[in-house]
Amino acid sequence: MKYIVAIIQPDRMDEVMAKLEEKQIHLVTVTPVMGRGRQKGISEVYRSHKEAGSLLKKTKLEIAVNDEFVKPAIEAIVGGARTGHVGDGKVFVLDLQECIRISTGEKGGPAIG
């Protein structure tokens, strides 16, 4: 079992969701987050004062998958989020020790799907 955390550009969200859907991965948690990488963002202007915009709006996806779905999930996220520019984001893969489905009490692999 792996836990996949991805930080992507908010405007790539629909594309990533579509690709995940194609790979039969339906379970995903999404959060709007702030962060920064190497790229410069779009600085905002308020009454002619430019905001430096040191933190940028990003979208965080979290997906728990069984081992056979790790590769498809990464392919879907990278495929959907890539534009080839800096700022496209990152995918992190973490080992997942346990998973419990609250409604039934199932544990491990069956609980994820």
């Binding site: 202007v45 308020y46 009454r47 002619s48 004062h49 430096a52």
Partner: protein, 453 residues
């Protein structure tokens, strides 16, 4: 009880109760003469005029919560309630101040052109028959309550300058004293019978001098006395809710038809002119600011267009009963150019933290509007007014100039000293930590937004 005696809000409330008691006693004496008055010939009440003035009063009242949303959207989310609270507190506080003694100081029997007497304390002699000196066709109380709304919004305008850092108790004391020793006298000079600027022939149809220059300059003084917010200018987050600001600006525009249109004190031709030129100036100014943004920042911004529109409303205020449509367009274009320079260049250059540009928009816009009235005023619009420079009367421009200088100097000096005194006596700023946590939680023990549910 002992611990309450030490708290300033307690004394504040005690003084308020005491005044109310005195007012009740004074007003009780007045019942007999009122009956005698009924026998004397009275000016006729015009129902149309009265209907419009009362409607306008309601429109102007709405401008204060509108301003609360305009300002509230521009602050950080941890301070949104503090802005709404300060505005709402003024609606309550200044109303009581006004009916007890504020109206009397402003419009009561003149003392040497400087201030009204306390003869109308607690609305004594302010009844339901017209007072022809101010408005011959509506009940005196209709005029009084219309003016009350102006007295409320004027100190509310100032709070944009010290937003996000003032202690709430000091804010209450400051506002009450400011209304009494700055607003009421200036209101008397310009609008009160016998007031010296009124006697000079200064034109201020709906409060460009009394409301906007007065508040705008006081805003600059308070920004200077209170100092910058922590982290200003580099570490201040952008406006937390621009849609609120747009809602507020839209309601301000709507309410301004009462502010200017109602200042005709009747529902005829003059009210129509004021209504029309108010709308034109707001449109011209919003458009101009959007263009300026487009040229200098390569995008027109939402905050820009609403700031411009509000600036246009400010600038047309003194002129709305004296200029025609062409004058209104020029006033609208001019105000956005001047206010744009004030907020984008002047403020940066001098480094003061006028947080929400109360001086940059209301002060600068008000000064431009008062001077522009001396340029574009024409007797063709209002025979009771005067011609301006472009209609062959350069003297009017200098009368306007004098009124601007007198008001600005008085407001700046008195506000500056008042805040210095309050800083020494009770402290004007919230503590550093309270400011970092936010005024909503530290001053009011409430939060504007929840995270869960």
């Amino acid at each position: 009880m002992g611990k309450y005696l030490k708290k300033s809000p307690f004394w504040f409330f005690a003084a308020f109760l005491l005044f109310t008691v005195i007012a009740t006693v004074v007003a009780a004496e007045e019942i007999a003469p009122a009956a005698a008055c009924a026998a004397a010939p009275v000016a006729a009440i015009d129902t149309g005029d009265t209907a419009w003035l009362l409607t306008s009063a309601a429109l102007v009242l709405m401008m204060t919560p509108a301003l609360a949303f305009f300002y509230g959207g521009l602050v950080r989310r941890k301070n949104v309630l503090s802005i709404l609270m300060q505005c709402f507190m003024l609606m309550c506080l200044i109303t009581i101040q006004w009916v007890l003694f504020g109206y009397s100081l402003s419009f009561g029997p003149d003392i040497k052109g400087v201030i009204g007497s306390l003869a109308w304390f607690g609305l004594k002699d302010v009844g339901l028959t017209p007072n022809p000196a101010y408005a011959a066709t509506v009940p005196h109380q209709a005029f009084m309550i219309f003016q009350a709304m102006f007295a409320i919004i004027t100190p509310a305008l100032i709070l944009g300058a010290f937003a996000e850092r003032m202690k709430f108790s000091t804010f209450c004391v400051f506002s009450l004293l400011w209304a009494t020793i700055v607003y009421d006298p200036v209101c008397h000079w310009v609008w009160g019978v016998g007031g010296f600027l009124r006697a000079d022939g200064a034109l201020d149809f709906a409060g460009g001098t009394v409301v906007h220059i007065n508040a705008g300059v006081a805003a600059l003084a308070s920004a200077l006395v209170l100092g910058k917010r922590q982290g200003y200018p580099d570490k201040i987050s952008p406006p937390h809710n621009l849609p609120f600001a747009v809602l507020g600006a839209g309601l301000l525009w709507f309410g301004w038809f009462g502010f200017n249109g109602g200042s005709a004190l009747g529902s005829g031709a003059l009210a129509t002119n004021a209504f029309v030129v108010t709308h034109i100036a707001a449109a011209a100014a919003g458009l101009t600011w959007a263009m300026l943004d487009w040229i200098t920042n390569s995008r027109s911004t939402v905050l820009g267009i609403i700031t411009g529109a509000v600036g246009g409303l400010v600038a047309i205020t003194p002129a709305s009963g004296f200029v025609n449509a062409v004058g209104a367009i020029w006033i609208g274009i001019g105000v956005s150019v001047f206010c744009y320079m004030a907020v984008a260049i002047l403020k940066v250059k001098f480094g003061y933290d006028d947080s929400l540009d109360a001086f940059g928009v209301h002060g600068i816009g008000g000064i431009w509007g008062a001077l522009a009235t001396g340029l574009w005023a024409t007797k063709a619009v209002n025979p009771a007014g005067a011609n301006g420079l472009f209609y062959g009367n350069p003297a009017q421009f200098f009368i306007q100039f004098k009124a601007v200088i007198v008001t600005a100097v008085y407001s700046f000096v008195v506000t500056f000293v008042l805040l210095k005194v309050l800083t020494a006596v009770m402290g004007a700023r919230a503590s550093q930590q309270d400011e970092r946590i936010g005024l909503d939680l530290t001053q009011h023990r409430e939060a504007g937004y929840t995270v869960l549910e």
